[in-house]
Structure formats: structure tokens, C-alpha cells
Symmetry: C2
Subunit: 326 residues, 2 copies
């Protein structure tokens, strides 16, 4: 769980219950998949999506809320996130995720394909448990679709030195921000906020998500493998060119071409050279400024909400996500 949640004991407590719920949902008598599912449920991420969900749920009317429903919807968000991670790790060939060996690296790609599918099924089951017959079902299907389109579109843009920053943001909106958007939207909705507040929550979620992803991409250029608990500059080697690089390329494309033209055959030293160039040309600084723009948009929207202890917490969290170390 992200350290941040220790500052919000109320949320932290609920996130623990969500973890248990996920464990429960991924437990099975089937000896063939028992270990796999146990590993999947033990792998703890930042729990950002369910955490944001609970913060936004607190905005609404406590007396009208269904605690059990809230916990299950929160679990559905984390499970959908896990499902996409398992399949992303296949694509990325990642050996590590949060410092833990990935499913595909531990059990093989084949198992990882089905493991992700099982998580999609668990997600689907939780939706049926909590919102069967509600229009929010449709919102979930749409989010899942946008998420995948974002991933596919990012894959399509691989090794494209001419990828525009607009295209990059579109992909980020899909692959990352859509689930943040859904988390905040559902938090407000199931927390029984008004439709107006629910709409603002969705917009806040999207902007937090975009800023979060841009900052994630920045950390790839500024942090170390030890702190990030995953290999750095892996995206670059795999042809996923993120904002720090795209801003730098825009300034001096000819400086990057000799390296990037090598595509997947780029060496570790050359990757280091590219990273140095990105820093030198201000790509990291530009990207930070860019991320701050989306954080600012989120903060402006938060100001439109009734100002109280909860909105102060949401504000604080939004800002702190751009100051994190991993």
C-alpha cells in the first residue's frame, strides 16, 4: 500500500478490508491455480484507485451508503487494475513489478494470459454482485474498452520518434487516466453525492490520472531501479517514448535519431546517452511543468467542491502524488 494512506487512517483501514476481499475472491479449491491466485492477491500495489474511490465516497451522505457495496466496488477497481498489469507485463516482458517477480516471469507467459483473464472474470463477478441492472455497468465496460484502446494505441506508436505529445496524452488518458476517472466517479456515485459532484469527481480523477502517469514516466528518467523497485528506462528500450523524451526530441530530433533509429537494438550505454540528452535538453523539466498543468486542473475542480476536511485531504493527496519518489 502507498505510504500516503497512513496519513488517512480511515481510508487505510478500508483498504485493508479491500485486500482481504480480493484475497477471498481469488481463492479457489482448484489445486492447479491456487498458488497462482494466491500470488496475485498477495502482490500489493499502491492501492491508489480504491484509495481515491474511498476519499470521494466520503464526500457523500454517510447514512445512505452501503458499506459492503463500497468495499466491493473498490475491490473491483483494484482487480481490473491488476488484470491489466498482468497482461501489460506480458507485453513488456517485465521481470519485476513493485520489486516482486511478475506472474509471466515466474509462471510463464502462458499462465499470465489466463491469469489476467481470470482477474477480468473476478472483476466482472464483483460488478454483478454490486451493480447488476445499474447504468454504472455500462460505464465500467466503456472504461475497460478505453483502457485497452489506450494500450493498443501505445503499442502502435512504439519506436515512433515523430509521435506527438497530443498522441501521448491520448494514450495516457486511456491506459491510465480512465481507471482513475472511474474510481473517482464511482466513489462519488456510490457515496451518494449529487450528479453534479459526481461529474466533477470524474473530471478530477482523469486529471489526477494523467498527471500521475506523466510523473511516473518522469521517474523513469530521474529515479533509480532500487527506489522504483523496477528496471528504469525499460520503456525507452521497448520503444515506448514518453513525455520527457518527446519534449526533448521536439527540440533537437537529429540528436536522438542515431540512437533511436536502432530501435530495440539500442545498447545500455546508448540508453544512458539518450537519458543524458533528455536531461540536457530540458525534457524532464518540460515534462514536470506539463504534469503540473494537469494537477492544477484537478485542483481547480476540487475548489468547485464543498470545502471541508475531505476536500482538503483530496487536495493534499493530489499535490503529494507529484512529489512522490516511486
Amino acid at each position: 500500500m502507498l505510504d500516503i494512506w497512513s496519513h488517512y487512517p480511515n481510508v487505510a483501514q478500508k483498504l485493508n478490508t479491500v485486500s482481504s476481499l480480493i484475497n477471498e475472491h481469488l481463492s479457489t479449491d482448484n489445486p492447479d491455480v491456487q498458488q497462482l491466485l494466491a500470488d496475485l492477491s498477495q502482490e500489493q500495489g499502491k492501492m491508489l484507485r480504491p484509495g481515491l474511490f474511498f476519499l470521494f465516497a466520503e464526500l457523500g451522505d454517510n447514512h445512505e451508503q452501503n458499506e459492503e457495496q463500497l468495499l466491493r466496488v473498490a475491490a473491483s477497481l483494484e482487480i481490473l487494475h491488476k488484470a491489466t498489469l498482468v497482461h501489460d507485463d506480458i507485453i513488456d516482458d517485465s521481470p519485476l513489478r513493485h520489486g516482486v517477480v511478475t506472474i509471466q516471469s515466474n509462471f510463464g507467459k502462458d499462465v499470465a494470459v489466463y491469469a489476467g483473464d481470470l482477474l477480468f472474470t473476478a472483476f466482472f463477478e464483483l460488478l454483478i454482485d454490486t451493480m447488476n441492472g445499474m447504468s454504472m455497468m455500462k460505464d465500467n465496460a466503456t472504461a475497460m474498452k478505453k483502457l485497452l484502446f489506450g494500450e493498443l494505441s501505445q503499442m502502435h506508436a512504439r519506436f515512433n520518434q515523430k509521435q506527438t505529445i497530443e498522441n501521448y496524452v491520448e494514450n495516457v488518458k486511456g491506459k491510465t487516466a480512465e481507471l482513475f476517472r472511474l474510481a473517482c466517479l464511482e466513489g462519488a456515485y456510490f457515496g451518494k453525492s449529487s450528479p453534479e459532484i459526481t461529474q466533477i469527481a470524474a473530471s478530477i480523477g482523469e486529471n489526477i490520472g494523467i498527471a500521475f502517469q506523466i510523473y511516473d514516466d518522469i521517474l523513469d528518467y530521474t529515479s533509480s531501479s532500487k527506489i522504483l523497485k523496477k528496471p528504469v528506462l525499460e520503456d525507452l528500450a521497448q520503444g515506448v517514448y514518453t513525455s520527457p523524451l518527446l519534449f526533448a526530441i521536439a527540440k533537437k530530433p537529429q540528436a536522438f535519431a542515431p540512437f533511436l533509429d536502432k530501435k530495440q537494438n539500442i545498447s545500455v550505454t546508448e540508453i544512458k546517452n539518450v537519458s543524458n540528452l533528455v536531461h540536457k535538453l530540458g525534457g524532464v523539466k518540460d515534462a514536470i511543468f506539463f504534469a503540473q498543468g494537469y494537477t492544477r486542473k484537478a485542483l481547480e475542480d476540487i475548489d468547485k467542491l464543498p470545502q471541508n476536511k475531505i476536500t482538503a485531504s483530496i487536495k493534499e493527496l493530489t499535490t503529494s502524488l507529484l512529489n512522490r519518489k516511486f
Copy 2:
């Protein structure tokens, strides 16, 4: 589409509409995935599941039926089937499916992972369109789960010369029969048959599915690549030991061990040797007898239904599935 459907013009016509519906559902403005989705929707299988669905729907009260709903539920069955095929082809590393180059072979494994996920999403969307709020949603989620457990369990049993025929049938029930079961169950349900008939339909579907898969495994030992439009004995090379082989191993395990102990390093000639041994030891004959048992169970259940033109067609189809050439 399976030739068989030409004998049922009413069903054939509906299956054409289902194909168009699938095309529609897999069309997108997104240029990155347009071609991929177009390829996915053009790949025409036997359409067995939606075909069975329509036959069972005809058992019910025509006046109470919602034609649009029937078409969409039928499409959901075929799309779920396609989703599992795309992911199976990744596991099997199959170059061909129905004589057409597979997604993973044409676009790469990475795209195939997401393509399958997109199909799961399209499946999910169709369910929301047709049965949001109905308990049948839960049946679909359960079917999807059993399907995946069947696949995972089959994967777990790879290269296991001691796999029992009971274990094989359990896996077949999951990976194949569950979707046949769902198709017949939903056909009766959305066709507005009584709960009793709906339950019998589910049981018929399961037994047809088991017989179908056993026969599919038999064809692998008796047909040619040209007729099957896919490589034969591919399962064997990949450690998936099906009923003809399992029956033969049970009779003379020591004859197979020298070949099968080589696992994935088995040569083409050795595979041919194993196949000859299977025939010699009566494995194919045993498997045919075994499949016939499930067909008989299905026919007994069909006899419990009101006897009319439709049930005669269902009977005919059930029998003909064990006489097909591919």
C-alpha cells in the same frame, strides 16, 4: 459457418445476422486497431454455439421472444468463444486456425493478448445490452470462470502421462462443454421455455460439448492437416494428451514412455510413431465409444423434450456432430 447450418435455413439466416452484428460490435474509428478488429470479425468459425442457441430458442414461445435480444445474446456467445480462441492460440503458438493465419502469428503475441481482452470487453458490453439486472449475468460470469479453470487445468496437466481420463473430462467440461451448456441454456431461457426445459437444455448442451471435444481430439489422430485446415497432432507435441492417447497409454504405458518422456523435444517421426501406437492399441476406437456415450446421454435428454420438428433437428445435429470430417 459449418456446412450443417445449410440444412437449417432458418438458423443459417440468423447466423448471418449474428455475423453482421459481430462486425458492427468490433468496428471502431481507432486506426490503430481497425485492421485487427476487422480481421477478428471476418474469421468465420463453425458458429456452433450461436447455432445451437437458436435451435433451442425455437423450442420456446415465439410470441414472447425478443428477436433483437436473441441475436445479441447469440453474438455474445460467439464473441466469448473468439476471445478464448485468440488467447488459446497464444498458448498453443498456433500459426493457423480454420486455415486462416492467427492473430498472434500475424500481429504478434502482444497484440493477441489485447485483442482477446477487447473481445472479452465486447462480450461484456453485449451482456449489459441484453441482460443487465438479470440473474443470467451471473451464469455468464460463472461460465467464463469455468472455461478459464478448464484451460488452466489442462495446461497444468501437460506432459503428464498419468493423467486420468476423469481429469481429462473435467478439463473438457470446463474448456469446451461449459460454453455449449451456456448456449443451450440461454437459447431455452431467452426463447421463453419453461424452467424445466431450460434445465434439460443446459444438460444437453454440456453433453453435446463433451462429445464434440472428444471427437475433435479424435480427428487430430485420424484426419489430415488439409481437411482440418490446421496442423494435426499439435496437441500431442505440446503435451496436451487427449482421450485417444490416454486410453492407449492406460493399456501399455511402457510403450509410450520412451517417446513421451522426451516431452517437447519429441520429433515429428516419433509423434507419428505415437500416433500409430494409439491406433494399434485401440485408443481411437475407445475414444469414439467414449464420445458416443456422451452423445447418447444428450439424445436421452432430448427425448425428454416435447417431440416436434425442432427436437428432431436438435437430435439430427447432435448425431451429425460425431460424423463430421472437421
